[in-house]
């Protein structure tokens, strides 16, 4: 029996009367790199939150490496790393303090945390002042720190919500290289982004959500048979007709 890296089984999430994710079923093999696409409010972030245990599904179940998220969330969280869109950092700590906190929570020893932190900061070109609080980091520095925290314990699945937003081109390239290296080493990656070029370049597997429903799922090659480019396919699937023109321009 195959153990999927990630399995969403008829997952639904309602907020009051609003259905954010509707009967979503998805299975990912280990080592997959999935690009999760959708318009604003399509349900991407809610799906990601359910996958990372931040939100409980109203119906259905989420299995991570065969472990039911509802039954043993701690075991799941030991295996995953997540970088939410708002980064969710502890702003009162300095960068090294934050990584030490996260590392200790994952049960890593001090020496290992220090060594990994050094490597992460070096490769991500992150050099905060020793007394600089996370609250005083620039947006790009916060993104790098959030990625460092997500990678620190060596996760088997990595969730990234808009990782390239607000990042300079050099750092963006570094992050892409890290992600591709992780994929080569068998880590499963799930990424959401509005930048279709990035998804097209990085993710062999694409899922397109709209109104909480899965509108398209497959490899880039398979999906492309239905459209000329990812952008054209995306617009075709989610419906993106123009609303008119500005009268004074």
């Amino acid at each position: 029996m195959t153990t999927f890296a990630l399995e969403l089984d008829a997952v639904t999430k309602r907020f009051g009367d609003r259905v954010a994710v509707d009967d979503l079923t998805l299975r990912l093999e280990p080592g997959t790199f999935l690009g999760l696409l959708g318009r604003n409010g399509a349900g991407k972030s809610t799906t990601l939150k359910m996958m990372t245990g931040l939100v409980r599904p109203t119906a259905g179940r989420v299995l991570v490496l065969g472990i039911d998220m509802a039954k043993d969330p701690i075991a799941v969280k030991r295996q995953i790393g997540a970088m939410p869109e708002d980064m969710a950092l502890m702003e009162l700590l300095t960068g090294p303090q934050y990584l030490r906190f996260v590392g200790r929570m994952h049960g890593l020893d001090e020496a290992l945390i220090a060594q990994r932190q050094e490597e992460l900061f070096a490769i991500l070109d992150l050099a905060p002042g020793p007394r600089t609080l996370v609250a005083d980091f620039s947006f790009g520095m916060k993104k790098k720190l959030a990625l460092s925290a997500a990678l620190l314990h060596g996760p088997r699945i990595l969730f990234l919500d808009e990782p390239f937003e607000g990042i300079d081109p050099v750092t963006s390239r570094t992050i892409k290289e890290i992600l591709l290296t992780l994929q080569r080493r068998g880590v499963t990656l799930i990424l959401t982004s509005h930048i279709l070029e990035v998804v097209e370049k990085l993710c062999p597997l694409i899922a397109i959500l709209d109104d909480g429903r899965l509108k398209g799922f497959g490899t880039l090659e398979t999906l492309r048979q239905r459209g000329e480019s990812l952008e054209a396919l995306f617009v075709d699937l989610v419906g993106g007709e123009r609303k008119g023109e500005l009268s004074w321009l």
Partner: protein, 540 residues
Amino acid sequence: MAVARVGLLRALLASHALSTRNRMARDLGRSGRWGLVVLLVFLLATAILPTLLGLGASGYALGLYLPGKVPTAMLGGLFSAVALMGGVVSGTLGGTRQLAWESYRGYPVPLRTIYVAELLAGLADIVPMLIGAALASLLVGLAIARPRLALLAPFAWVEAMAFVLVLQVLVGSLAASLVKRLRMALLAVAALAWVGSTIPAMLTPGFGTDGAHPALDPEQLAKLARFGELLRDAVALLPTGALARSYAALVSRDYATAVALHAYPIATVVALSCLAAPLLAREASQVGATGETAQRGGARERLWTFTNPVVGIAKLHLRALLDSNVGRFGLVMPLLTIFIVKGPLAHAMGRGDYLVPASFSYIALGGMQLQMSLFGLDGHGTKALFLLPISARTILAGKVMGLAAYQLAQVALLTVLLAVVQRTPSALLVAGVLLAATYFLAQVTLGQITSVWMPRAIPRRGARKAGVPLPLLAVGMGSWGALTATVGGAYSYVAKHAPGFLIPAMLATALTAFAGLALSRAQAARYLEENRERVIEAMS
């Protein structure tokens, strides 16, 4: 062109006034507005009006004795204290700009227009408003004593207020760290003054009531006279001293001198203004470039560690508490408690035997909002907590432990103060600590549920969104009231009728409360686990 500039200035001020009003309306809410009105009425009646009347009377008295050397110097001293010191204090306390320069600089508005708007907007700040009223009282008093002086009043008011506004901006534009240090120094001076004037009075029975003061010897008097002369000369050198001398000249009908003396304060205020403008522009551009949070310093270099996740969460929680305004203020609470409970309330009620339970109850009331909103200070960090491989039970246990450490510090301070100031017997103090433990354990048991039932962000800085929702307030106050009536009442009853049983009785209540917390932990953790998204959404 001039018309266009006036239009821009008006637009800037209108935008500032509207955004200030909207922010206040949002921050305070309906109940907060009423609270503010009540507070203002209270302050007006007890502090502001008496001060204004006092200044008016001082102006009247000085006006009668002008152009004497000493009254002129005293008037100069008053002008200096109100205008110069007021401007420095206001700039230090406010420490920053009124207008959103970062936004306004994006529009085609000359910098000097924004600067003038900034100065004028400063008038709506609370300290300049009070200073303006104080100055007006002083000048009215002078004019009542000598009606001729009314001629100078508008000019003197405008010049003195210009000093306040320019100094406020100048000090506020200095490096944030310098302003922070100035602010700390001001607080330290205020605290020392309060401690110096209050604590000895509390420690010494009958202090200041017998009217007996040792007479100063002639040498001391000579020293004081020399110091007075030095002070008078110093005031005379200040531009505000020139303002006072112009009043003296007017009383002497020396009109030319009275007018000419205004050149000095006007030239000084213009010079200071020219100095402040570029500083303000530079400070504003720095803030725009690095983000407003760069204003905050105080990072600690030391890395910390912990033995297990519960202790890690506890340390993090304690740090969030100590870094927040509400948490820092809480550590001053024991001092205030002693002052309030020992001072005005004891006098009002004419009895002191309730002092120990009342003090610990008051401290418990102060800690209520932190217990009812355990995630309140975490902000986005809440999400990070829930992404970690730790259970809801661990998170709650860590938070309770962190808060316990914080409240233990409060209780320890209060105990020391009660022992030193009141000379409270140790048995009563031990029982008081147990009473505080009962409050904490009972309220935090409830707080584990309310923190999830109605999660609420507590602002780390300022008063934005500081209002407690009514249901949460009702639960908190209700539980506090019930505990005060039962456990606090039991303390008073046992202390009076069976003092030998006080410590065992309070130990029993604390153990009962501890058992309640221990028994509720699993249920509270389950409740948090089931409703974590509510907490995350509320904090993010």
